[in-house]
Symmetry: D2
């Protein structure tokens, strides 16, 4: 497969360049009979949209979605759902000067290496604008999961070295940094403001917790839930790491400190005393919360002068113009949620075929 599709039974194909005519996605395999309105999708796109707050890029992209197929009289038909978002803020003028220059941290050089040339306007296909299609498709996956009582909650765990200690889902959308710990909000925002004033950027981590999953989702051995989630999330731009549950910390511990012990809970259901595994055993959901975390690098586009070269190897002093997020994390939250939802909706369908 050429690389722009993801998922098996619930399968998406995204398309579009940052400054082309439009971006979009085709969702194939959505079961028939799901109620779906444009507003379901628009809601998530609005959470992803630039210009939401002073700590995100100030680009104006209304990102209005059009449903072109697959829905009839408010319900999905079981046929492909084609979603289209026109590019409106695509002013290519400012890109002439980087046409032949390789921006550090960007895919300019590698796209040239692979394809022989590239659409240099705004990063072309390698732009985060590609995630519009993912978020739109994820909104449909979310509806499928919600019908089963499954809910996904993304948030910014850390910005730089400032880490949220509490995990209060109600707090997340109350603050512009999507931090689940009210006591850390100001600190995070101040750090982002500070690096922006410096013409720099800052990394962080986003965590996604899914509640309400039944035990038994996940296809051994190569389509374990964690393998699929890792692929889903590492396929986003600027991600440098992925972990599940206790994550890298588990590599420092003893087995007696890491194993989650089973017991029978008050309702007579099997449960776990701890959740170091993050909801998975052997790549299959165990009924506990599914917990994943990704490391997001600091935005590559910074306004500090950087030394680089053009395509012929001539040295260049680069100052990236344009309006960029000083920290990718707040807007990454709905994107990460979308990828998690896409994986889980796919596995929910796959699980229907596990037994005779």
């Amino acid at each position: 497969m050429p690389g722009n599709s993801f998922g098996q039974l619930f399968r998406i194909t995204t398309w579009g360049e940052s400054h082309g005519a439009a971006v979009g996605v085709v969702v194939d395999g959505c079961p028939a009979g799901l109620e779906l309105a444009p507003s379901d999708i628009q809601f998530e796109l609005d959470r992803r949209r630039p210009g939401q707050s002073r700590i995100t890029t100030q680009r104006k992209e209304p990102d209005t979605v059009e449903i072109l197929s697959g829905v009839f009289e408010g319900k999905t038909l079981g046929t492909p759902i084609s979603l289209l978002v026109r590019n409106t803020d695509a002013i290519s003028k400012s890109y002439e000067d980087i046409k032949d220059t390789y921006r550090p941290g960007h895919a300019d050089f590698t796209y040239d290496a692979r394809f022989g040339f590239r659409d240099y306007r705004g990063g072309g296909r390698s732009s985060a604008r590609e995630t519009v299609g993912r978020v739109a498709a994820g909104a449909i996956a979310k509806k499928i999961l919600n019908l089963q009582g499954i809910t996904t909650h993304g948030f910014v765990r850390s910005v730089g070295r400032i880490v949220a200690k509490k995990t209060d889902f109600d707090e997340i959308e109350r603050n512009i940094v999507r931090c689940p710990d009210a006591s850390k909000v100001d600190e995070k925002i101040e750090l982002i403001d500070k690096v922006r004033r410096e013409g720099d950027s800052i990394g962080g981590t986003v965590e996604v917790i899914t509640k309400g999953l039944p035990p038994g989702l996940g296809s051994p051995v190569f389509n374990k839930i964690d393998a699929d989630l890792a692929a889903a999330l590492m396929s986003l731009g600027g991600i440098r790491g992925f972990e599940v549950g206790m994550g890298f910390e588990a590599s420092k511990r003893k087995g007696s400190q890491v194993n989650d012990l089973l017991y029978k809970d008050k309702e007579g259901k099997l449960a776990f005393k701890t959740n170091n595994a993050g909801g998975l055993l052997g790549g299959i959901t165990n009924g506990a919360d599914l917990i994943v975390r990704i490391a997001i690098k600091p935005t590559s586009s910074i306004s500090k002068v950087q030394k680089t070269v053009d395509k012929w190897g001539n040295p260049k002093d680069l100052v990236v113009k344009g309006r960029h997020d000083p920290c990718l994390c707040p807007r990454a939250v709905p994107i990460a949620e979308a990828m998690v939802n896409l994986v889980l909706a796919d596995h929910l369908l796959l699980s229907r075929t596990a037994r005779i």
Copy 2:
């Protein structure tokens, strides 16, 4: 796809339960004309084999591979290569007592949840024995890469909190813990010996570095090299995290500290002053070393008493018998290398179709 295949053009399908008749793999898509002998595969299986040293499990499994198809007169035919390894140490007797008991950290409960029942002998399909097929297939991928001057080097970066500082490839196979830093070997071995004496286990990290990759490998957007590597490595048992290059550390830094600057090197080639990105930009190789790291949890099977339940929810005091690795890392090295090689061989073939 049901979950036991991996890769696109170089595609493997593994099969087999820990205590079934055999384990194996079918490799489809290996180009015709590659010289291949059983010894190429046996070499890697021997690196993976139990009983290599006093810090690995003492089980005796000769793991002799048989090539059943796809090779004729010493060369691959372009047809599927079927590889078979008989299970010999499969003494099922000791598993009767865990037939109905859910071992903490194992997939017993989740396989029951998914499939309704399970082969309880030695973990069945969820056993690390499944990786025999991966390692055997990876040996073929390695030969393809080697022909292009691409070499993959895996090693144990850390055991518990003991971290190798130096990365000396020549040192790795000289010591039983596959540590690339001679000054840390004894410390790591002592720690493993200590937890074993305690009836416990210890986690660690394995790193894989690939040298000699041309720029331009990787299919945006969902089959970025890092996305495929994450899927490949997270699909192994007991892995809790994955990172590329600077990894999670990048989430704590500023853009000016993380971006790798380009320059023209002495031979006139474009190169990078640092390699924080781990060899990838936009998921495509940039010609620098590809660097990935995985977090491995401590072995779940420990001989300390653990509280758990059986399938009916009755409390059980479990002491896991049998012979287990106190630390999974040393034997995980050839397995992780195999997965990296499988991904890269696949992308090497895919890259042949990137341009008209």
Copy 3:
């Protein structure tokens, strides 16, 4: 995979309902650097368009294609090519009366059986309008093949029992029935006119011959060229049979009458004295012309009264209104060519990976 994608390395995903907002296709895997203009695609869409002549439906659908992504400065980027055609003649009014009635020969009943409901306007997804996406994508595949000197020629072999004896490629587009035998054109047109006047329809066969193929295309064993072509062509609506080379006639013959004997031709190349196999041996091209043929049923929509039932089983006397092709064959020619070109472009890319 959910069913709306086709191909492996050159992979298309079509979407759209007959009377929805639009129909379209995403082409993933087109190599970078191919020159591509909207007119390349429009040319083929115009060959497929309704209202071309008095023997096709008189519906007016300009079917203007828009390239939304994947092309930059006149060349393909190696990223997905999204193609959009708005539906303009989609007057749904006339469909209210068949909302609950099952038209004989149509997929009304089976879509309800599968999905629980359907878009009843103009057949929804089961409409031949879906082939707009196939033809648009096929135009790109054709360009790839033409660069290698490979050309595909489709034509109407027979209408009813009137069979073209000669195969003159130059004649095909000179007549409205796309017949390659000038001496049969009038007879075929008269038959079509006659059945139309009767309110009836007529079947026929379409043949596609591809010249210039190198030996060696085709992936044994499940992706033989004939297997992939059969899937490609049988996936069109209204197709009842597929054959390659001598086809069903071979089932009546002896081996000594069917085997094509090899010889060395004047240029010293291996060649075949006959081409009963239609250009394939073991599913792999042998350098001779590739010849396939499909049986097309008579149009299901006829204006004669037909007995049927509605969804509750009540008997209905149905008269299909609207404007329908009395014979599907002439417009099926560019569609069949497109499917053949899609298969061959895919295999051309696949063949790059057959040898080390």
Copy 4:
């Protein structure tokens, strides 16, 4: 995908050369909990085996299947089922003389063209021996279908120009030519005997009818049941044509003669007065019998002298030695049934995901 796998959710990968160590198949995606014994598979292999009667090849291949994985305590585990059949009659001696000669009608030349060399012993991978894996896997698919009351019945419709008129399922296995019309059995056998005495071979057609299918199986648009069946059956060696229902005959008829009219039957179910469509509308089952037919060419290996060339183009007079079926049809019956069952089991699983 490299070509040796088939199916989506119920997915098989076959492997093996005619004169290699073994042939086999891995079945991935079989739901857990299906009762499965080696005898279920052996039964179908015995129907396919050479040497069954005087009109088949007299080679002796016991073809004993071994289940290597995926079954535990008599039931499928939901993990891959690996099936192995050792090659026993693989006497390669007689193949030295055709090592460099291209046999007419065989894939010798095209395998060389694709892969650069080939396993020349008995056709290697292009041998019909590859179908052992298909038949073994098909036996599992059959069990899944039988549980739902779905039964598949293959038979030899015609040998040369001798066509069975009656379709009596009970008659099929009573005669060695698997003819469903007792009045045509002797005629067919005599014809086969005659061509064998002449050192020649004869073609024929095999038909497969499936009863008991629910309406609603089939994934529009590219995975219509007829498209998948066509791919499945055309991927067999020696097949020159495929048709469904009325097939090519429909291309000669008028719509009013072909459309199947609906009515409500005595039990109140929707049904069709005729079954010209062969059980499908829009590629989805309509509840009527599914009817497909394939054209099988006469065996390419004949003992008459044939003119051909070697790989360097030198003329050769070829007499194919060895023991070959004078007519492929009788042994093709279980193979064709297997392919039909594989497609239908896959679609039965897929249909579980069609609705929310």
